[in-house]
Symmetry: C2
Subunit: 420 residues, 2 copies
């Protein structure tokens, strides 16, 4: 490995001659002095020289003496440097990566993602995203969950029918999975508690700031619950774990973006759907975006929480596998978690009896044929269970205040975009 110290560690080497390595982030040529700012994975470091400097985005090794300097990033700089160029760019970057503010438009950024994501402000959401996933896994590992990997190619477009991508599967039609729903339920019958972090696919025909054709879904499912409230309690732990991990592993990215991280109450407040209707003075069978925003503000004001559970959505608005509320059968044991005005997570208790599935499908006028592989799991004794799905990019967008979800993933896929 190239023997180097990281820019964030310079202070530990004061007075020593060390080598750093990274990209030329910025050059500043004064009359008799030149400043070279080098970017590595831990941050920026400065070298001062009288010599000429290689252009921005050159990959360099710089060997110099670590010297205190109030003006340098981190308070130390390299003096008397020798500079070795490891790799030269063959074109200037599509926009200035060294400017503190991003000057490029979103299409320019996305068209040139491999270079653009090097900008500290543009890579920061991806650091927060990586830290979030690590925290999700750690929280669920602690609770006895097992990670699973399930098929992304499926025989039938079961979850909703619409918005699926078709595949040519050895000459047969197949589809990209819209969620691991059925598989995670089956695996709850094996491991009791499972999670999966993986891509899901929606052939979303609308060009919005909130939708992607591929996104990363954080899915969990657990058995031996009393009802959906047990799922909500686990979700609370997962979200708290994600935030704790972001605080610990992505502190610099959070600071750079000026992101305000929410507190997670020991118990996230919950309102029943009917109460949400009463509060907002509406009586449609689902919540509108405006209602979701209003409820989020209400929760912050009245309950001091940026998170709010809405429980008991009408059965007519939830998928067929949703478990009804035994006390009020028109309403479900399903919930949404609202965060800063938007639905972030959908979850709930599922049906667990084979006969209940047959009945639920029949009630919706659906045949069982397309669901046969799925229904199998319930034939052999399934515990009461439930789960949830959280969209990683939506989460990161809410945390960082990104205006467009495309800023929270490296290479977004949408109605128009298929590269890079």
């Amino acid at each position: 490995m190239i023997s180097r110290v990281m820019s964030a560690e310079l202070a530990e080497h004061a007075g020593q001659r060390v080598t750093i390595a990274g990209w030329v982030h910025r050059r500043r040529q004064l009359k008799s002095l030149s400043f070279l700012v080098v970017r590595d994975r831990t941050g920026l470091a400065q070298a001062v020289t009288g010599a000429g400097l290689p252009p921005e985005e050159s990959v360099v090794e710089v060997t110099g003496t670590v010297t205190a300097s109030a003006q340098a990033p981190g308070g130390f700089e390299l003096v008397s440097p020798e500079i070795e160029v490891l790799s030269e760019p063959s074109a200037p970057p599509p926009f200035d990566l060294y400017r503190p503010v991003v000057t490029a438009t979103l299409p320019t950024i996305l068209d040139h993602a491999p270079a653009a994501l090097r900008h500290p402000l543009l890579r920061a959401p991806l650091e927060i995203s990586a830290a979030s996933v690590a925290g999700f896994r750690q929280a669920l590992d602690r609770l006895g969950f097992t990670e699973v990997h399930t098929p992304k190619i499926v025989a039938s477009a079961t979850e909703s029918g619409a918005n699926v991508f078709g595949i040519d599967y050895f000459g047969r039609p197949a589809y990209l999975a819209q969620s691991p729903q059925f598989y995670k339920q089956a695996m709850a019958g094996v491991f009791e508690r499972v999670y999966e972090v993986g891509p899901v696919f929606r052939a979303e025909p609308h060009d919005t700031v909130r939708h992607l054709a591929q996104y990363t879904s954080l899915d969990a499912e657990l058995g031996f619950i009393r009802d959906h409230r047990d799922v909500m309690a686990v979700l609370r732990e997962a979200v708290a774990g994600m935030l704790e991990s972001v605080r610990r592993r992505a502190a610099h990215a959070v600071e750079l973006l000026g992101a305000a991280l929410p507190e997670v109450p020991a118990e996230i407040p919950a309102v029943h759907f009917t109460e949400a209707q009463r509060l907002t003075g509406e009586d449609e069978p689902d919540l509108s975006p405006a209602q979701e925003r209003w409820l989020s503000e209400w929760a912050l004001r009245e309950r001091g929480s940026e998170f709010l559970f809405v429980t008991g959505y009408p059965m007519s608005k939830r998928p067929f596998y949703t478990h009804p509320d035994p006390a009020r059968p028109g309403y479900s044991n399903g919930f949404d978690l609202l965060f800063r005005g938007l639905e972030l997570v959908t979850g709930g208790q599922r049906l667990h009896r084979y006969e209940d599935y047959l009945e639920a499908l029949a009630a919706r006028g659906e045949g069982v044929r397309a669901y046969e592989g799925y229904l199998q799991a319930f034939r052999y004794g399934m515990p009461p269970h439930g789960g949830f799905a959280l969209g990683l990019e939506r989460w990161t967008a809410r945390l960082t205040g990104a205006a467009n979800i495309r800023q929270t993933t490296a290479f977004p896929r949408d109605l128009h975009r298929l590269s890079p």
Copy 2:
């Protein structure tokens, strides 16, 4: 949550009245006594009663007094039990899940995966797989890697051209990604060190015991290397981390399968391709399966290692992005890691100069058009870098001695199989 103790914790509750919950794993009706064996995610527990017992795979809560018993699993059993049935199966399982040996054929197992995977021997490989992935991430996290999520839908079938699945992408042709190769390289230009654990897709037209149409690839890529040996050193840490995690997190599964876990030498032995040819007395430009087996045996015998690196494969046999050996340009800075007779990992140093990519593509008679999105990353200054890819299912198969790779994933996809 259902208030319960896990079967593995019974000993800690000796003399107390506790509740366990799980599946009826086995019933044994003697003349005046019945034994009920309950299976939960931690193992088996036994209850002794005079009453009748619900059928296998019923989901039950059993409340009883924890009493020492030499015959019971774990040395304790529940006496004077009250049994509550939470969920009844509507059919008997496709084969006896309680028998110590699996009596079903592989097609039966795969057709009935949701039930079959409940058999302790069939779920064990998946526990080892989950533990392996956790160890992989932990080892790389420690080394400063960042996790990334890259597109599974791509515009062109770049990596090999053949064996790709076509998709209808909003009316345009697109393909399922065969690897995250290009994206992980681009992201090494952003984070220096990245990994991804995710599905990759191969339209493998042959029905073999070693190939799947979807498998989980453990990919890593790192910048600022001297050459491929730095990649090999990181791979060594990753593999050691995976095994350490398997030992810690999946000890019971390892024991159940009688799997012998290998030791990872501090430095895994390596032979150059030309030396491998000399040793095996062959001179084809690639290694045959028989040579790989022979070399593995040789490494165990002569070097005491179940792992062996073969380095310097001829450039003609490696992908165009492979970095040549500067000292012997016909040979590459690419390597394979052999494990127990099979290639487990492929990796190497990649080209990092834009001009080298143009030259490499031209030399193979390939146009640059299909690679434009990819080549972008190299235009803006890329450090010397390299990486590797390890197939999770192949790893698990080697560890557990599975005869067929389909036994190492929950819901395999192959030429003929698209469900469940």
